[in-house]
C-alpha cells in the first residue's frame, strides 16, 4: 500500500515536470489561434529558444539572461511567421512548418559550429540553471499524512518556471476572457471584418497575439534546456509542440480545460516511462516502444473520439484582406 502510494506520488511529480512545457506551448497556441493564426510552429519556436537559452546561459553564466534571450529568439520566429502570413497573407501551416524545419536545422548547425559537440551545448552547472525551489515548513509538513507528502513531493521542489506555467494559465484566462484586449482578440479570430469595421486594426491585433505566443514558447524552450535539463540536445523538443497543439484542441481553445489536457498527456508520458520493463498482470512485460507510443496513440484516440465537436475559431487560417 505504502509502496503504491509512493509510486503515485512520483508519477504525479513527473507529470508536472513533463507537462510544464506543454502548458506554456498550449497557452501560446491559444493566444495565436484565438486571433486566427494557426500556430503549428510551436515546436520550432520551443526548440529554437531552448538552444538560444542554453547558449546564452553558457556564454554569460546567467540563466536570467538565457531566459530573455530565449524569449527574444522565439518572438523573432513569431515575427517571421507573422510577416509571412499576416503581412503577406501566406499559408499559415506552410509558414509554421517552415519554422519547425528551420529551427531543427539551425539549432544543430549552429550547435556544431559553436561547440563541436554533435549539436549539443556544453552542460550547465547548477548555478547556471533554474533550480528547484523548496517551500518553507517542509520539515513540519512532512509529518502530516498524505497531504504533507503530496505537498513536499509533488507541489514543492520544482523550479520557478513550473510555477510560472500555472500562472500562465490564469494569465491567459484573464487576458482572453476578462479584458478589452481579449474581447478584440477573440473577435479577430472569429470575424476579422467585424474588428476592422469597428475601427481596430486586424493586423496589429494579430501581431500582438503572436508575440505573446512567442514569449510563452520562449519560456517553454528555456524550461527544457536551462531548468529541467542542463543544456541543449538536438531535437530535444521531441514533438512536445505538437502534443501541446493537440492538448489545446482537446481543451477547445480554453485555458483551463487545456491545462488539464496538458496534465493528462504529461501523466500518460510519465506512466509510459514508469511502466518500462514492468511485468503487468495478464499482459506481461510491455515493450518499451509501445509505452513510448502510448501518449501519441491516446492523443489520436482522444482527438478522434472525445472532441468531435470542438469548434475552432471561425476565421482561423484565413488571411485577412480588405479588398476582395
Amino acid at each position: 500500500m505504502l509502496e503504491s502510494f509512493q509510486i503515485i506520488i512520483s508519477l504525479l511529480d513527473s507529470t508536472i515536470r513533463i507537462a510544464t512545457p506543454l502548458i506554456f506551448c498550449a497557452m501560446a497556441g491559444i493566444f495565436s489561434e484565438r486571433s486566427g493564426i494557426i500556430d503549428i510552429g510551436l515546436e520550432g519556436k520551443m526548440l529554437l529558444s531552448a538552444f538560444v537559452a542554453a547558449t546564452a546561459t553558457f556564454v554569460t553564466g546567467s540563466p536570467i539572461f538565457g531566459l530573455f534571450a530565449a524569449i527574444l529568439a522565439s518572438c523573432s520566429a513569431s515575427l517571421i511567421h507573422g510577416f509571412a502570413c499576416i503581412t503577406n497573407k501566406g499559408d499559415q501551416v506552410i509558414s509554421g512548418l517552415a519554422i519547425n524545419i528551420l529551427a531543427s536545422g539551425l539549432t544543430i548547425t549552429l550547435g556544431i559550429a559553436l561547440f563541436s559537440r554533435g549539436g549539443q551545448t556544453p552542460p550547465l552547472a547548477s548555478e547556471q540553471r533554474f533550480m528547484p525551489i523548496d517551500f518553507p515548513f517542509l520539515d513540519q509538513l512532512s509529518f502530516v499524512p498524505v497531504f504533507g507528502e503530496l505537498f513536499v513531493e509533488v507541489i514543492s521542489g520544482h523550479n520557478i518556471l513550473v510555477y510560472l506555467s500555472v500562472l500562465a494559465v490564469f494569465f491567459t484566462y484573464y487576458i482572453i476572457f476578462k479584458t478589452r484586449f481579449g474581447l478584440r482578440l477573440r473577435a479577430v479570430g472569429e470575424k476579422p471584418e467585424a474588428v476592422d469595421t469597428a475601427g481596430i486594426s486586424v493586423i496589429k491585433m494579430r501581431y500582438q497575439s503572436i508575440l505573446i505566443a512567442g514569449m510563452l514558447c520562449g519560456l517553454a524552450g528555456a524550461y527544457l534546456s536551462i531548468a529541467h535539463g542542463a543544456g541543449f540536445g538536438r531535437e530535444m523538443s521531441a514533438g512536445k509542440g505538437y502534443i501541446a497543439l493537440a492538448a489545446m484542441i482537446f481543451g477547445k481553445w480554453n485555458p483551463i480545460p487545456t491545462l488539464f489536457a496538458c496534465l493528462l498527456f504529461g501523466f500518460l508520458e510519465a506512466l509510459g516511462v514508469r511502466l518500462e520493463g514492468v511485468e503487468l498482470i495478464w499482459i506481461g512485460e510491455v515493450p518499451v516502444q509501445v509505452m513510448q507510443a502510448l501518449p501519441y496513440v491516446l492523443t489520436v484516440v482522444l482527438l478522434a473520439g472525445f472532441i468531435g465537436k470542438a469548434r475552432a475559431p471561425g476565421a482561423i487560417g484565413v488571411p485577412y484582406s480588405k479588398e476582395g
Binding site: 478589452r180 474581447l183 473577435a187 471584418e193 467585424a194 476592422d196 469595421t197 475601427g199 471561425g314 480588405k322
Partner: protein
C-alpha cells in the same frame, strides 16, 4: 429633371431645395481596382438630417463608394467633406471618429459573441470588460429605448433572428457616436414586417438629426422612405432626384440607361395534370436538425408554383432533395409518374433523366465551375449526352456549335464560347445556367433565387425566358426570397417557415402583408 444625364450630377443637386447644411459631400471621387474603374468622378451631396437613397444595379459602384466614405477603401482621387470640412478618411477608425457608422450588407457581427459584446466592440468603455460592460450597457439601453431598437443583450448572435442582428449593427454604430449612418442593402434579409420596423427606426433616427444613406436596389423602398435619391450606373452618379418628384419608372430607366418593362405579362393557359407530387417529405440535416417537416404539395404542367419564405427556412433543402443532390429520407416524391421512395437510388443524374432540370440557388457554388469556359459550363451535367460526345471523347466541335446558338438565343454577353464563365457578370452567368437547363427540354424546372445579384436588364430577360418555358407547358417550381418576384411570376404561392408549409394562396389574391405574416410564422392560413 427628367432623364438627367449629366456627368457629375451637380446640375441636379443645384435644382434641389436649397440646403441649409450638407452632412456629406463627395467631390470627384475616383477609384480603380486594377483596370476596372469602380467609381469615376463621383459627386454626391447629402443634407444633414435627411435620408438619401442610392440606387443602381450590381456593379454600379454603390458599395465601393460607401466603403470609401467609411474608410475601408482609399480613393485614387477626390475629396470628402463632412459638415463643410475637408476630411481625410483613411481608415474605419478615422471615419468612426468622424461620426460615420456603416451597417454592411453582410453583417459584421461575431457569431459566437453576445449581443452586448458585439455592440460594444470598438468602444468597450474600459480596459476591463466587467466595468466596461456596465457603462456601455447603460448607454446602449438608453439608445435602444430612444430609437425602438429592441434587442436581447444576453443572447448569442448566432441564435438571434436577422432582424435583431441588424438592430445590433445599428446600435453598434450609435454606441460609437455615429451621426451619419450608411446602410448597405439593409432589407435583403428581412420580412416585409421587419422592413417596416426598420423604416420606423430610420425615421426616428432622422427626427433626431441623424443623416442616413440607404443603398438598395428596391425602388419601392426608395420611394417610401428617402428624401432624396441618387442613381448610379457604371461607376458614375447619373442622376439626382428629390424623391417626391420622381417615379420608380424614371429611376429604373436611369439605372439601366433605357426603358425597362417592370411588369410581367403572364401567359394565360390552362394548367395540366400534376407532374411533381411531394408527399410528407421530412428531412434531417447533418447536425440532426429537422429542417423539413411533412412537406406536401404538387406542381402541374404549365404552372409556376412559388415558394416564399425568409432564407434558411428549409427551401434550400427542399430544392436539394427534389434535384437529387440530397437523399430523400422520409416521405415520397412522384416525378412524371415515377415514384421515389426514401433512401432509394435518387441523384442528380437520375433527376435529369426523369426530366427535372435545376437552376441552383448559388450559381457560383453549384451552377457553374467559374474557371471553366462557357462551352464547358454550357453542357455541365449533360455531358453524357451523345450530342456532345463521340464515345469516350468529348466532341468539341459539336459543343461549340451548341454553345454558339445558346449564347445567341439567350443573350449571354459577351457572346463568346471560350471566355471563362467567372468573367461574366452575375446576370450573364445566370442567363447561361438558365439557358443550359432550359435547352435540356425539361418538363419540370426547379429554380432557386433566379435573380439574386442580377441586374434589372438581365432580370427582365430571365423572366421572359421563364414565361416562354411556362407557355410550352413546363412546370416550374420557383424558390425566391424576393417577395415581389414570387408574387408577379407565380400562379400559386406556398409559404415556408421553419421547415413547414405554413400557408398556400393564389397569387391573384395574395397581398404582401399576408405573405409577410406567414413568412414570419405569425399566422397560419
Amino acid at each position: 429633371m427628367k432623364n438627367t444625364e449629366n456627368k457629375g450630377g451637380n446640375e441636379a443637386i443645384a435644382s434641389l431645395p436649397p440646403s441649409t447644411e450638407s452632412a456629406i459631400e463627395l467631390k470627384n471621387i475616383t477609384k480603380r481596382f486594377g483596370h476596372v474603374v469602380a467609381n469615376s468622378h463621383v459627386n454626391l451631396k447629402v443634407r444633414t438630417g435627411t435620408i438619401h437613397g442610392i440606387v443602381g444595379e450590381n456593379g454600379a459602384g454603390k458599395s465601393t463608394l460607401m466603403n470609401i466614405l467609411f474608410g475601408l477603401y482609399k480613393p485614387d482621387s477626390g475629396m470628402i467633406f463632412l459638415n463643410g470640412q475637408a476630411v481625410d478618411v483613411n481608415s474605419p477608425e478615422k471615419s468612426i471618429a468622424l461620426g460615420i457608422g456603416m451597417v454592411h450588407q453582410h453583417f459584421m457581427l461575431v457569431p459566437t459573441f453576445t449581443v452586448l459584446e458585439n455592440a460594444m466592440l470598438g468602444n468597450e468603455g474600459s480596459m476591463l470588460l466587467r466595468s466596461g460592460e456596465e457603462v456601455v450597457l447603460d448607454r446602449l439601453k438608453g439608445l435602444s429605448n430612444n430609437y425602438g431598437l429592441d434587442v436581447d443583450f444576453e443572447a448569442i448572435i448566432s441564435d438571434t433572428p436577422v432582424g435583431m442582428q441588424q438592430r445590433v449593427e445599428i446600435l453598434k454604430a450609435l454606441n460609437r457616436g455615429a451621426k451619419i449612418l450608411i446602410l448597405d442593402e439593409p432589407t435583403g434579409v428581412l420580412t416585409p414586417q421587419e422592413t417596416i420596423g426598420l423604416f420606423d427606426i430610420l425615421r426616428s433616427l432622422r427626427e433626431q438629426g441623424v443623416t442616413i444613406i440607404l443603398i438598395t436596389h428596391k425602388l419601392k423602398e426608395i420611394m417610401s422612405i428617402t428624401d432624396t435619391v441618387s442613381v448610379m450606373r457604371g461607376g458614375k452618379v447619373v442622376a439626382d432626384f428629390s424623391t417626391e418628384k420622381t417615379s420608380p419608372e424614371e429611376l429604373a430607366e436611369n439605372m439601366v440607361g433605357r426603358k425597362v418593362l417592370l411588369s410581367i405579362k403572364k401567359p394565360t393557359l390552362k394548367v395540366g395534370k400534376p407532374v411533381l407530387e411531394v408527399k410528407n417529405v421530412s428531412h434531417e440535416s447533418k447536425d440532426g436538425v429537422l429542417v423539413l417537416k411533412n412537406i406536401s404539395f404538387d406542381l402541374k404542367e404549365g404552372e409556376i408554383l412559388g415558394i416564399a419564405g425568409v432564407a434558411g427556412n428549409g427551401q434550400s433543402e427542399l430544392l436539394d432533395i427534389l434535384s437529387g443532390i440530397e437523399t430523400l429520407q422520409r416521405g415520397q416524391i412522384t416525378v412524371n409518374d415515377k415514384t421515389i421512395l426514401p433512401f432509394q437510388d435518387w441523384n442528380s443524374k437520375k433527376a435529369r433523366e426523369f426530366g427535372v432540370a435545376h437552376v441552383p440557388e448559388d450559381r457560383h457554388k453549384r451552377g457553374l465551375v467559374l474557371p471553366f469556359h462557357n462551352y464547358e459550363n454550357s453542357i455541365l451535367g449533360y455531358h453524357r449526352n451523345e450530342d456532345y460526345s463521340s464515345g469516350f471523347l468529348m466532341d468539341k466541335r459539336k459543343i461549340l456549335n451548341f454553345v454558339d446558338d445558346l449564347v445567341e438565343n439567350f443573350d449571354v454577353r459577351p457572346r463568346s464560347s471560350s471566355i471563362s464563365s467567372g468573367k461574366l457578370s452575375g446576370g450573364n452567368q445566370q442567363k447561361l445556367v438558365l439557358a443550359r437547363e432550359i435547352e435540356s427540354n425539361p418538363n419540370i424546372l426547379l429554380v432557386g433565387q433566379p435573380t439574386r445579384g442580377v441586374d434589372i436588364g438581365a432580370i427582365e430577360r430571365i423572366y421572359e425566358d421563364l414565361m416562354k418555358l411556362k407557355s410550352k407547358g413546363t412546370a416550374i417550381l420557383l424558390v425566391s426570397v424576393e417577395l415581389d418576384e414570387i408574387m408577379s411570376l407565380s400562379d400559386r404561392i406556398v409559404v415556408m417557415n421553419q421547415g413547414t408549409i405554413v400557408g398556400e394562396t393564389n397569387s391573384s389574391n395574395a397581398t404582401e402583408l399576408d405573405l409577410g405574416k406567414m413568412m414570419s410564422g405569425l399566422e397560419q392560413v
